[in-house]
Structures are given as structure tokens and as C-alpha cells.
Symmetry: C2
Subunit: 358 residues, 2 copies
């Protein structure tokens, strides 16, 4: 009987956070690409852009004026997907309790109350997470923690995320992320909650803390690390260069991080995003975001804080992975293996390609 | 107490086929778009393109020569994501049984055996589902049925799908779709299986047959119909102009369709795709694909055959919906309501904008 070669043979891997499988087709990385090439991202932007609605002092679309801010600055989205006043209103036939299955099974609806905020990372129009530097990333982390603290008092779920790059749906290159809070647990988070709870019930330990330890032992999917944090390409990654940022200590929610743990996180996020940019010598597009225990007043000991990076690029700055067709209808599929992706990210220098000394 | 206005107020709706919720933010359709504009799709292509690896008589990348085919033509993908010889090989630690949870919960893997085929819809390089005409669409449906019949003898799951449009990952405009068969039930299909089974256990009827009847009564989400079929924007649609094609009679798998039901399906698919193209006067990009009962030798009475269309465009031929950030990390979100989308598609003429008589 032949031996199984995971770098050659199609196989499936299971994501323990979602329960979903991914189809891995490593041999397929060899196919030529004749489809859409993305336009190159602009690398050099001005420090201040008079036409940017996020730069300090500028006027926004709806007429508000930005303050002359320095460092992270947070404000309410002018076009929020969630509104704080939806509470009393119930859609037709919606049950009093969220996700009540006693509802009409074919037309189930639910009210939702929440808000959307925008968080500018820096006054500089041309900065990115990769070029901000560790100190300014630390200030960003502090701001995230404050927002979690404040919004978590009113809302069950606070979603901190960033869409980077025009090809990834970002409509303004000014470095910024978003915060959407709501009184409902979103679908994908509810699934992670259930999976982590089930694991802790079975094993008595935290899924993602056990996983971090196993990956630390195995080494082969690690991208970078320090005493507190690991960044790795998970065994079940869907996106070509997807990574997971994991604490090496037990922690449920971001505001619980100590000062030292915030500093070491800033170092790790800076290094990871520099490696990303260096991989294809381009401002690497991605969606990233944080998951932690919901703010329901419970301890939620099965939860472990973590951060997902989902970057779309596959082969170069202009060739992306499309999650279409088979992926939308059947199952996610990837070409190169997570181990190959991790090795490529590990090989990158830790100095940003645009910031090289002459 | 105010009345709930689903065209103004954020709310959530539940997809009974997946169990997922979608966040509906109708008020957000008013926001201006300053992000990426897609390049326009080329509307007029030659009948035959010497550089196209799918046109009759041309040489393919790996060296094979296409026959001088007319009408639908199917061949094995030169770069298949699935291979038929994986059977005997098991990844490290994989259990003998698929999806066996007795496996290592953090590193679960599974072998998979299958194949990928390409199906050219027509010898004409410039045709699309929308311009083929009903008779040629009927020939395509017959070809799908033959492939299901044949591959269903060897594989548990046969996924027929099409990626249309460069912005949707299609690498060649020659009208074609794909068929991926495998001996494993893919993740999203397993979820639909479970949800339909649960509904039938509870209600004694088929989820999607009951749903078709309810939508027929309600009318407001219908796009087009005939005696056998409905096309509608489902109550829980994620993509702006997502549609579901539903039979109005009980049927588990495509090859079970009668000659008349195939003809009426050809008429419906033609009309639906013409309406799509007319909406933004562009060859409408989409991923579409079929779901029916798995080929496991059982009756699978809870299953109802259906087809999903997932088109990315939002506001015009050049402005798409990005499923990023909140959608990847928390929950799908949409702007205009499914009812608004259905009304826009219903308003379209049924004659294709490129085929107008002078
Ligand atoms: O096989 P193709 O058409 O080259 O590839 C396309 O469809 C596949 C199946 O949906 C996807 O996995 C690819 O990402 C996409 O580019
Ligand atoms: O709010 P933005 O940045 O304009 O919009 C972007 O992020 C949102 C949240 O991920 C998505 O729903 C939109 O599709 C995307 O274009």
C-alpha cells in the first residue's frame, strides 16, 4: 500500500471551531491562471488626502467634520448596518425570544438592536497595520479594549474587524477598521460558541488553548510567536494564507489582557502583518477580526480569545482565490497546503519591504 | 407602539436550509459607494476564438485537442480538484469512516475520491445561458441529467455548477459549467440534508415543497414561474439578487424529471437569466448550482431538487456586494430587502437587451 502524501493527494480536513470540512487539493496549485488579474494596490499614498473622509479635519459625506485627531479615533458610522432604536420593534410573527424555534420555520425573523462604529488607526492616510510600528499598534489595542469594555456593557456581542484593500471591499485606504455591536449572537459566533463548549464538556480543557500547545509542539504551521502569542496557519485553513492569532494563556475577552500581554500582542500583530506585506511585496489585503466570549455576564470558561486573518491573495499581488461555485454550493476548497503556506510566511524577512534602510 | 417596517428597520431572517441567520439592513442601501468599481464585462465576443481552450477544434493547455463539437460537450478537467485514485490512501490518523468523531478532534482529516468535469454549453464562444435560447438550454439539461445518472452510480455526491463572469472567478468566457463528484457529502450539502430531514420528521411534508406553495400564495418574492417551476428571491437571501429555482412537484433528483418538466425548466432558466442580464444591461455574473438527494441508494423523501443562483452585483454592472469582514466573522448582511430585489427582477422585460429587434 502506498503512503499518503498530503502535499500531493486530495483530502479533507475538519475545522473544530465551525465543524465544517475543507477540501485540500495540493496538486492543483500547478494549474495556470487565465482569469481576472487584480489591479495593483497603490503603495505610496500621501500623508494627508484632502478628498479622504477619514483624514483629520476633513468633512465627511453626511456633513460632519472630523476633529484634528492624532492616533486612534473612533466615531459612529454615518451609514450603520445596525441601529440602537430597533429594540421595541418586532418583525411580523417574530417571537419574543431570539431564535425561538417555535416560530414559523419557513419565515423566521428576529429584531436586532446595535450600532456600527469606525475606528481610524492613525492620522496618517498612508499608514497600515504593517507600517504603523509596534507602539502605535499598542495604542490601537488599547482603543479596542476600551470599546469592548464600554459596548460590552450594553450589547451581547461586539465585533471588531478590518477590511483591508480595495479588492477586499474596503472603500477607503485610510487605515481603519470597524466595530459592530449587537444584542444577538451572530451565526458564525454561535457556532464557535457551541463547538468550544462541546470540547470543554468532553475534555475539561479549552479547545484553542489545547490547540495552541499542539501547534507549538508541531512547529510546522507556525508563522511567528513570542512568549504570549502564536500566529499560525490553522490545520483547517480555507483561505490560502489564512492565519489564527492565539494567546498561549487562558483569556476569555480582550479587555482582560494585561499591559504586558497587550505589548506582546502589538509586537506579534506588527510582525505578522509585515510578513504578509513582504510575501508578495504588496500591501496585503485581508479581512481580520476578533472573537471572544460574549458579554452575557457569565464566565464562559470554554471561550478563548482569538483573531482570524482571512486574506484573499493566492499566487501573487494580482491573483486571488475565488470562493465561488463549489465553495458556495458544497465546501471550501484550497490549493496549496496550510503547511506550505506557513513555510512561505516563515521565510519572509521581518523588516517591511517599503521601510528598508538605503 | 410604532409599526415594524421591514423596508426601513434592521432585522434578521433565518435560512431554514442552512440554519444560518442573515442581517437585513434596508436603510443602508442609501449609502454612497466609493470603493472598487469592477471593469465592464465584454458584451460582444467572437463566435470562435482561436485562443480559447474551450472552443471546438482548439488545443488545450495540457495538449489535448477539442473535438469539433456542436451543442453541450463534457470532458475531464485538466486540473481536477478531486481525483478518482485517492480511495486506498488515508491521511495520517484518519478514521476508516468518514467524519468519524472518534478521530483526534483538533486534527481530523479524511480521504476523498472523486473527479472534476467541464461542461461546455455550446460551440459558440459568445453564447451564455441567457442568450442560448430555450431549445439549447433543454439540451444542456439533458446533458446534466445524463452526467448525474452516470456519476451517481459511482459517487455519493455530484455537484453541477457554473461560475459566470470574470469578477466571479470564471477564467474563460466560453459558456461552460463544471461537475465535481465525490464519495463524501460536502459540508453545505450535509447541512441542507439535516435541515430538510428535521423538517420532514416534524411536519411530515417536504420543506421546499411547502415553501414553494407559501411563496406562490404570497407572490411578493416571485420573479417568474410556469406550471412546473418557480424562480424567487428567498425570504432569507444573502446575495442582493440571489434566487432559488423550485419545482412545484415532489422530485428528489434531476434525472427523475420527465421530458415535459425538463422543457418547462429550460423555459424558466432562460427567462430568469434574461431578466438577470436586463437588470443592469450586462452579462450578469453569478455562481449557480444544483442540489438534490445524494446517490446513496435510499429514497431520501425529505429531499427536494432545487437550484441556487448567487450573483455578486449590488447596484449596477460595476458595483458588487463584498462578503467580507462582518460577513466572514459574524453573519451575512444585506442592504436592499429580498422583496425589493424580487420586484426589480419582475419589472424586467423578458426579451434580452442584446437581442432586441431593430
Ligand atoms: O476551476 P476553475 O474554474 O478554474 O476555478 C474556479 O472555480 C473553482 C470551483 O468553484 C474554484 O475553486 C476556484 O477558486 C475558481 O477560480
Ligand atoms: O462598511 P463598509 O466598509 O463600507 O462595507 C464593507 O464592509 C461591510 C462589513 O464587513 C460589508 O458588509 C460590505 O459589503 C463591505 O463593502
Amino acid at each position: 500500500n502506498q503512503e499518503f502524501d498530503q502535499n500531493e493527494q486530495p483530502h479533507r480536513r475538519r475545522n473544530p471551531l465551525s465543524g465544517d470540512w475543507v477540501l485540500v487539493s495540493p496538486h492543483r496549485a500547478k494549474r495556470p491562471w487565465q482569469g481576472l488579474e487584480e489591479p495593483p494596490a497603490r503603495e505610496r499614498l500621501p500623508e494627508h488626502d484632502a478628498g479622504c473622509y477619514l483624514c483629520p479635519g476633513n468633512r465627511r459625506i453626511q456633513g460632519a467634520n472630523n476633529p484634528d485627531y492624532r492616533g486612534p479615533w473612533v466615531f459612529d458610522n454615518d451609514f450603520p448596518a445596525l441601529k440602537p432604536d430597533g429594540a421595541a420593534l418586532k418583525p411580523d410573527g417574530a417571537a419574543q425570544q431570539s431564535q425561538d424555534t417555535a416560530q414559523d420555520p419557513l419565515f423566521a425573523s428576529d429584531s436586532v438592536r446595535g450600532l456600527s462604529r469606525v475606528i481610524c488607526y492613525s492620522e496618517s492616510h498612508s499608514a497600515t497595520l504593517a507600517t504603523l510600528g509596534q507602539q502605535k499598534v499598542a495604542a490601537l489595542i488599547d482603543t479596542w479594549c476600551r470599546e469592548y469594555q464600554r459596548l460590552g456593557q450594553e450589547y451581547l456581542w461586539v465585533q471588531v474587524f478590518e477590511n483591508k484593500g480595495a479588492i477586499n471591499g474596503c472603500s477607503n485606504p485610510h487605515p481603519h477598521g470597524q466595530i459592530w455591536a449587537s444584542d444577538r449572537l451572530p451565526t458564525l459566533v454561535a457556532r464557535e460558541d457551541q463547538q468550544q463548549r462541546h470540547y470543554t464538556d468532553e475534555h475539561g480543557s479549552k479547545l484553542l488553548l489545547d490547540y495552541a500547545e499542539r501547534e507549538w509542539q508541531a512547529q510546522q504551521r507556525l508563522v511567528c510567536h513570542n512568549q504570549d502569542w502564536l500566529a499560525l496557519v490553522p490545520y483547517w485553513a480555507c483561505w490560502p494564507f489564512e492565519t489564527l492569532v492565539l494567546p498561549r494563556f487562558a483569556v476569555q475577552r480582550m479587555p482582560e489582557l494585561t499591559g504586558d500581554q497587550r505589548s506582546s500582542l502589538a509586537a506579534l500583530l506588527s510582525e505578522l502583518s509585515v510578513r504578509y506585506d513582504n510575501l508578495f511585496q504588496t500591501p496585503f489585503p485581508y479581512s481580520m477580526g476578533w472573537h471572544g466570549a460574549p458579554f452575557d455576564g457569565e464566565h464562559q470558561g470554554h471561550w478563548q480569545l482569538h483573531c482570524h486573518f482571512y486574506p484573499p491573495l493566492l499566487r501573487s499581488a494580482s491573483v486571488r482565490k475565488f470562493m465561488v461555485g463549489y465553495e458556495m454550493l458544497a465546501e471550501s476548497q484550497r490549493d496549496l497546503t496550510p503547511e506550505q503556506a506557513a513555510a512561505l510566511l516563515r521565510q519572509q524577512p521581518t523588516q517591511h519591504y517599503l521601510l528598508k534602510e538605503p
